[in-house]
Amino acid sequence: MKLKSILVSKILFNTRGIFRILVWILVLGIGIILQTEGVEGRLYIDITSPSMRRISVAIPDFKYLGKKNEHPDLGRELSEIMSNDLDLSGYFKPLDKGSFIERPEAGITRDSIHFKDWSVIGAELLIKGGYECIGQQLKVVIRLFDVFSGKQLYGKRALGIVDESRYLIHRLGNEIIRTLTGDPGPFLTKLAFVGTSTGHKEIYLSDYDGHNLKQITSYNTITLSPRWSPLGERLMYTSFRNSGTVLFMHDVLRESVTKISDRKGLNIAAAWRPNGKELALTLTISGNPDIYLIDTTGKILKRLTKNWGIDVSPTFSPDGKKMAFVSNRSGSPQIYILDLVSSQVERLTFQGNYNTSPAWSKLDRIAFAGSFDHHFDVYTISPDGKDLRRVTQGQSNNENPCWSPDGRYIAFSSNRAGGNYHIFIANANGENQRKVTFSKGEQLSPSWAQYSK
C-alpha cells in the first residue's frame, strides 16, 4: 500500500513523469480527433450516438427555372416543406431565412454560389432547390452542398405533380437523410390517431408531419386504439356499438371496413404480429379480460393469457416471438413480457405504480407510459428490463407512445399545450419534441406506419 502511493507521488512530482503524461494525452487526443474526422468524412451524422449536435442548414426559397411561373408561391412552400422535414428529423437546425445575405440573382449550381455568404451566417450545409411547372406537372431539382468545402454532396432531379409536392419533397428529404446518415429517412410515413374535432372520437389519418389530414370514420360513437398493419395498408380499431366494443379492420387502400371480432363483452386493442397475419386482442369471453391470438378473419388461434387480473394492450417483439402487455396481476398495472415459445411470463417494469401502453420498436426497445409521480411520462426500456430512460420530462401528461417504423422516433399524445391532448413526435432519446397535430379538439393514441403509396 505504502509502496504504491510512494510510486504514484514519485511519478506525479517528477518533471519527466509529467512530460510523459503530457505526451500520452497529446497522442491520445490526436487519435480521437482523427477518428471523429474519419466518421464525419463518411457519414456527416452518426444517428446511433445517444445525443447529437444539430447541424445548421440553410434552405433558401426554391428558384423558378422555367419562363412563365404559374405557381410563384411554390418556391417558398417547397423550401418550407424541406425545412420542416429536416427540423423534425432532429438532426438539423434550419436557419432563419431572415438571416440570409445571398443576393437573389445567385443560382443553384455550385459555380454560381458564393459559399462565403453562407459560412458567414453559420450554415454548415446548404440546400439549393429549383422547380419548373407545366400545368400540373412539377419538376424539382435539388442540390446539397457542404458550405466549408464547397463540395456538392447530393443532387437530384425529380418529377411529380403540383398537388403532391409534399410527397415529392418528403422523398427528396429521405434521400438527403440517407446521404448524410446512411439510414433511410422517416419522411414517407403516416400517422393514424383518435381525434375529437366532431365531438365524437373518430379515427384520422395524416402524414407524419400532421399534414394531409383525413377523417376516415364517422360512426358518431366512440372509436379507439388505431393500429397500423406492418405494411401500413390496413388499420385495426375498436369502436363502441350498442352491444359493446367491436374490433374492425379498415383497408385504407380499398377503403373497405370489415368486422373482425364482436364477441360478447370486450373486443379491444388489437396488436399486429409482425408477420401481418395474426393479431392479439383482449376478449372477455371467459368472464375476465384476457389476451387471445386471432387471425385476420377473427378466428381464435390461441388463448395467450389466463389470469384472474386484467390483461390488455399487447405489442409484439420485432421477431414476433414475444409479446409485451399490461396486467394488474400484481395489484397495479405493470408491463409483462410473454415468451410465446416457452409460455413464460416475466414482469418488465418495477418502478412506479402505474405503467401502461407498451410499444415494442423495430430496434428492440419498449416504450411505455408510466406514472412515477402523479402524472404520466413516456419512458423506454430494454426488453431485459435494463436501461430505463425517460423520454418526456413531466410536461403535464405524456401518454400512448408508439414508434416510427424504423424505431428511431417516438410519437405520443400530450396535454402540455393548454389542457387538450395533441400528438407530438420526438427522437427516440426524447430530444426535439415537436407538436404535429393542430386541429380543434383532441388528438390521441397515435400509430405510425410506412407510407403505402
Binding site: G199, K201, N220, T221, I222, L224, S225, F240, N242, G244, T245, G265, L266, I268, A269, T282, T284, G287, N288, P289, I310, D311, V312, S313, V326, N328, S332, P333, Y354, T356, S357, A369, S371, E399, N400, S445
Partner: protein
C-alpha cells in the same frame, strides 16, 4: 277592474300549470306502454342513440346532481319525452298510482350509483345496501332487464380503463346475482374513461366518475 283581471289571469295561469305538471307525471305511463309494444331490439337501439352524445347528458347531470337526486331523474325524463295532454287526461285511472310507485322505484334504481376506489373494482361496504335495494326491485319486477355500465376516471390508458370498467360492472352483477337475481337479466358493459359525469381534473371529479351506472333496458 284591472286588478280583478290580473287576479283572474293569475288563477287561470296557476290552474293550467297545475294541469301541465300533472300531465308531466302521467305521460311516462303512456310512453312506457309504447315501448312495450316495440320489438326489444329496436328499443335497445333507441336507448343507445339517445345516450350517445355523452357530453350533453353528462353535463346535464353534472349540473343537476348537486340538487336533490330524485327530482333530477324526473326532470330529465320530462325533458326527453314530450307530454301529450289528450292521451294523458284519458288515462288518469287508479292503477296509475301503482305505476307511479314503480316509476319512483325505477328512477331510484337508475339514479343511485355505486362508486369505486382508484384502480379497484370491488364493491365497497357502503354500497351494499344500495345493491340490496336494487336486487329487491329486480325481484319484485321479474319482467325488467337491466344493463350495468362500468366507468372510470380519466387517469391511465383508455384500454386498461375499458377492462377495469368491465370488471366494475361485473362486480355489481355478481353481487346482484348472489342476492338471487337471475344473471340473464343483467347485461354488463364498460365505457372505460369515455363517459365522465364530471370534467374536472381532480379527485373531486374523479371520485364521481369511478362508478357503475344502472340502466333499465326492458320491461
Amino acid at each position: 277592474m284591472k286588478r280583478h283581471l290580473a287576479i283572474a289571469t293569475m288563477v287561470v295561469f296557476a290552474c293550467s300549470s297545475i294541469f301541465l305538471l300533472s300531465s308531466c307525471a302521467k305521460k311516462q305511463v303512456v310512453v312506457e306502454e309504447k315501448e312495450i309494444t316495440a320489438p326489444p331490439e329496436e328499443e335497445v337501439v333507441e336507448v343507445e342513440e339517445e345516450e350517445l352524445p355523452a357530453e350533453e347528458v353528462a353535463e346535464e347531470l353534472a349540473i343537476e346532481v348537486e340538487e336533490e337526486e330524485e327530482e333530477v331523474e324526473r326532470e330529465e325524463e320530462v325533458e326527453i319525452e314530450r307530454p301529450e295532454e289528450v292521451e294523458l287526461a284519458e288515462r288518469w285511472e287508479p292503477e296509475a298510482e301503482e305505476e307511479a310507485l314503480l316509476d319512483r322505484r325505477a328512477a331510484r334504481f337508475e339514479g343511485e350509483l355505486i362508486y369505486f376506489d382508484f384502480d379497484k373494482f370491488f364493491i365497497k361496504p357502503e354500497y351494499r345496501a344500495i345493491l340490496k335495494e336494487k336486487a329487491e326491485f329486480l325481484k319484485d319486477n321479474p319482467n325488467i332487464s337491466v344493463r350495468i355500465e362500468g366507468n372510470c376516471d380519466e387517469r391511465g390508458t383508455n384500454e386498461y380503463n375499458i377492462a377495469l370498467g368491465e370488471r366494475r360492472s361485473t362486480s355489481a352483477r355478481n353481487f346482484l346475482v348472489s342476492l338471487g337475481v337471475s344473471s340473464y337479466r343483467i347485461e354488463t358493459m364498460s365505457y372505460g374513461e369515455e363517459r365522465p359525469l364530471f370534467f374536472g381534473h381532480d379527485e373531486e371529479s374523479w371520485s364521481q366518475n369511478r362508478r357503475d351506472d344502472f340502466v333499465i333496458i326492458k320491461e
